[in-house]
C-alpha cells in the first residue's frame, strides 16, 4: 500500500491519455457485462424452472408443429399424470380471477409487468393483431377481456410476467385454420421420480401416428428451446475475444509509451535502491490498476444498463443481473489483461541499466 501513491501519480501523469484509455477499457467491459449477462441467461436457461415435476409434450419433429386436442384426455389419464394445464401454480392469481378466466370465453390473464407496461386494468378490452392466425371472417383483429393479472414471486422468473394467456376454446372456434390442434401440453406428474417413465408413457400414446410426440421435463425443454438460438456462449466468446484483443493492443501501447517516457525516473528509483523486482511490480500494478479501474466502471455501468434493459425490453432478450459470477469473471479478465499488457513494459523497466538510462542512452 505504501507504493500506491507512486502508482496513482504515474497514472495521473498524463491525465488525457489516462482518461481515454480508461474510457476504452470501460467500453470493453460494459460490452462484456452486457454480453455475459445474456450468455449467462442462456447458459442457465431451464435451471431455475420452479416445476421440476412438470413435463412438456411437443411434436417429435418440431415444436412448431401442432398436436391434436384429442391427446389432452389421453395424457390426463396416463398413470402418473396428476394434471394437464397451462395455469402454473407459482403464478399468484386470485381464485376469483382464476374462476373468471375459466368462465369467460374471451377472457385473458396477463402478468403484472405487462399490465403495468401498457397500463391495463381489469375489465379492459385488449385488441391484438394476429400475424399467423386470422379469424374465420378474415379479420386479423382479436379482442380479449382482461379478467386477471398475475404476479410471479421469484425475482429470477419476473420475465414470466411479460406474457398474456387467453382461452384456447375461444381461439380454436374462431380461427380460420388449424382447428382442433394445440402447440404443446404441460402436465404435472404425481411423483417427480417417475417423470422419465411417465414421459415415455405419454410418448407411447402417439407412437407410429402422424403426430408422434417428444415429452421431456420442463427444464430440458427450456434448455433445448434456447439451444435453437445457436451457441450463444461461442458467439459471445468470439465477440469478446475480438474486443479484448483490441483492448490489449491499445492499452499495451499506452503502457509501453508510459514506461518509455519514464525510463530516467525508473533509473533514479533503481539508483536509490529499488530492486529490479520492485520496478517490475510497480509497472505491473500500474497496468492492472488502469484496467481494473476502467473495467469496474464498465461493469457497474453494465449492471445499470441490464436493469434498465430488462424493464424496457421485458423477456424479449433474456439477461441475468450483473451479479457476483459476472464480476468474478470480469475481475479475473481485468487482472489477466493488466498483467499481460504490463509485462513487456515492466520487463523493460526492470532490465534497464542505470548508467545507460541516466546518460540517456
Amino acid at each position: 500500500m505504501k507504493y500506491l501513491h507512486l502508482v496513482l501519480s504515474a497514472l495521473l501523469r498524463r491525465k488525457t491519455r489516462t482518461i481515454f484509455t480508461l474510457l476504452s477499457v470501460l467500453a470493453a467491459f460494459l460490452l462484456f457485462g452486457l454480453l455475459d449477462s445474456v450468455r449467462s441467461a442462456f447458459a442457465n436457461a431451464g435451471h431455475d424452472i420452479a416445476g421440476v415435476d412438470r413435463l412438456v409434450t411437443v411434436s417429435r419433429i418440431s415444436f412448431t408443429l401442432s398436436l391434436p386436442k384429442s391427446l389432452l384426455e389421453r395424457i390426463a389419464s396416463t398413470p402418473g399424470v396428476a394434471e394437464v394445464s397451462y395455469l402454473y401454480p407459482e403464478w399468484q392469481l386470485s381464485p376469483a380471477e382464476r374462476e373468471a378466466f375459466r368462465n369467460t370465453r374471451t377472457g385473458a390473464v396477463v402478468g403484472e409487468r405487462l399490465a403495468r407496461k401498457y397500463q391495463w386494468k381489469l375489465g379492459d378490452k385488449i385488441p391484438l393483431q394476429a400475424t399467423i392466425f386470422p379469424q374465420k371472417g378474415g379479420s386479423n383483429a382479436w379482442t380479449f377481456d382482461l379478467v386477471g393479472i398475475f404476479h410471479e414471486n421469484d425475482p429470477k422468473q419476473k420475465d414470466q410476467e411479460d406474457v398474456l394467456f387467453f382461452n384456447w376454446d375461444y381461439f380454436d372456434e374462431a380461427r380460420a385454420f388449424g382447428n382442433g390442434n394445440v402447440g404443446w401440453y404441460v402436465s404435472r406428474v404425481s411423483d417427480r421420480k417417475m417423470a422419465a417413465r411417465v414421459a415415455q408413457a405419454i410418448d407411447m400414446l402417439s407412437v407410429n401416428s402422424d403426430h408422434e410426440t417428444k415429452t421431456q421435463t420442463e427444464q430440458a425443454f427450456q434448455a433445448s428451446f434456447v439451444s435453437q438460438f445457436g451457441d450463444i456462449g461461442m458467439i459471445v466468446g468470439m465477440i469478446m475475444s475480438a474486443v479484448f484483443f483490441t483492448l490489449i493492443l491499445l492499452t499495451g501501447n499506452t503502457m509501453a509509451q508510459a514506461v518509455r517516457e519514464r525510463v530516467p525516473e525508473f533509473a533514479v528509483l533503481k539508483t536509490i535502491g529499488f530492486s529490479n523486482r520492485s520496478v517490475l511490480l510497480l509497472v505491473l500494478a500500474e497496468s492492472v490498476l488502469l484496467i481494473v479501474l476502467g473495467g469496474a466502471a464498465g461493469l457497474l455501468l453494465a449492471g445499470v444498463a441490464v436493469s434498465a434493459l430488462s424493464v424496457s425490453i421485458g423477456g424479449a432478450l433474456p439477461m441475468l443481473p450483473v451479479g457476483a459470477p459476472i464480476w468474478a469473471r470480469g475481475l479475473a479478465i481485468m487482472v489477466l489483461i493488466g498483467l499481460l499488457v504490463g509485462s513487456l513494459p515492466a520487463r523493460r523497466g526492470m532490465r534497464l541499466r542505470i548508467v545507460d538510462a541516466l546518460a540517456g542512452r
Binding site: K2, Y3, H5, L6, S9, A10, L12, R13, P264, E265, A267, V268, L269, K270, T271, I272, G273, F274, S275, N276, R277, I354, V355, L358
Partner: protein, 231 residues
C-alpha cells in the same frame, strides 16, 4: 584517518560496437571517512564512470572497490541495490526528481524501502527538508520550484536515509552562480557538521574550492592529488 572508499587496480572497459574502450586504467584511490573530494577532469576522462563505480551503480571490469569495509564489486545486483539504499545518497546534475510527486514525497522515496511507518517517513522527510531550508515548500511539485530549490530537494532526498556517502555528479552544472553557491555551501555544511563523506564530480574550479581535496582524472588515470585551502 580510516578510508571509507578504497579503489584498487580498477579498470572499466565499455564495448562500443566491436570496439573496446578502456575508460579507467588500473586506478588506485583511497578516500578517508568524512572527506569532501572534488573529482575534476576533461570530458571523457572517466569522472562519472568512477563515481558510478564507487556509488555501486556499475561494476568494474577489473580490480576491487571497497566502501565502508564492503567489497561492493562482488555484490549481486539485488544486494548492490540494498547496499545503495542503506549507504549512499545520490545527487545528479539535473536533479532527477519525480515531477508528479511533491517535494516531500520525492524526499520520502528512499524511505519507502525501509520499515518506517508513514508518519515516521513523513517526519524524517520534513527534517531533511528543514535541513536544506525548504520545509515550507514541501507540498510543492518540482515544476513549482526553481532549479536551486529542486537541487536542494534532491540533496534532501539523498540524505534522508542518513547515508555514509554522498556522490554528486555535477550538482551545480545546471544552476546559476548564486544557486550553485547555496547548494555547495549546503554540501559543505553536510560534510563539516554532519560528517558526510562527499565525492563530487565537477567541471567548475569554483565549485571544487568548496571541497577539501581535488582529484584530477585524465584519460582514465588519476594525474594529480591537490589539497586546496578551504574557502
Amino acid at each position: 584517518m580510516n578510508s571509507l572508499v578504497e579503489v584498487s587496480g580498477v579498470s572499466k572497459v565499455y564495448a562500443r560496437g566491436r570496439e573496446q574502450i578502456e575508460v579507467l586504467h588500473h586506478l588506485d584511490l583511497q578516500i578517508p571517512t568524512g572527506d569532501f573530494v572534488a573529482l575534476m577532469g576533461p570530458s571523457g576522462s572517466g569522472k562519472t564512470t568512477l563515481l558510478n563505480l564507487i556509488g555501486g551503480l556499475d561494476v568494474p571490469t577489473d580490480g576491487s572497490i571497497t566502501v565502508g569495509g564492503e567489497r561492493i564489486d562482488r555484490l549481486s545486483e539485488g544486494a548492490l541495490a540494498r547496499w545503495r539504499a542503506a549507504h549512499v545518497g545520490f545527487v545528479f546534475q539535473f536533479y532527477n526528481l519525480l515531477p508528479v510527486l511533491t517535494a516531500r514525497r520525492n524526499v520520502e522515496l528512499p524511505l519507502l524501502l525501509t520499515r518506517l511507518s508513514a508518519a515516521q517517513r513523513r517526519r524524517n522527510a520534513d527534517i531533511a527538508l528543514e535541513l536544506v531550508g525548504l520545509r515550507d515548500r514541501s507540498a510543492h511539485k518540482p515544476g513549482e520550484l526553481s532549479g536551486g530549490q529542486q537541487q536542494r530537494v534532491a540533496i534532501a532526498r539523498a540524505i534522508v536515509s542518513d547515508p555514509t556517502l554522498l556522490v554528486c555528479d555535477e550538482p551545480t552544472g545546471d544552476l546559476d552562480r548564486q544557486s550553485a553557491a547555496e547548494v555547495l555551501s549546503l554540501l559543505q555544511r553536510l560534510n563539516r557538521e554532519h560528517g558526510k563523506t562527499i565525492i563530487m564530480v565537477t567541471h567548475d574550479p569554483k565549485a571544487a574550492e568548496y571541497a577539501s581535496h581535488t582529484l584530477h582524472l585524465d584519460k582514465g588515470t588519476l594525474v594529480e592529488h591537490g589539497e586546496l585551502p578551504l574557502p
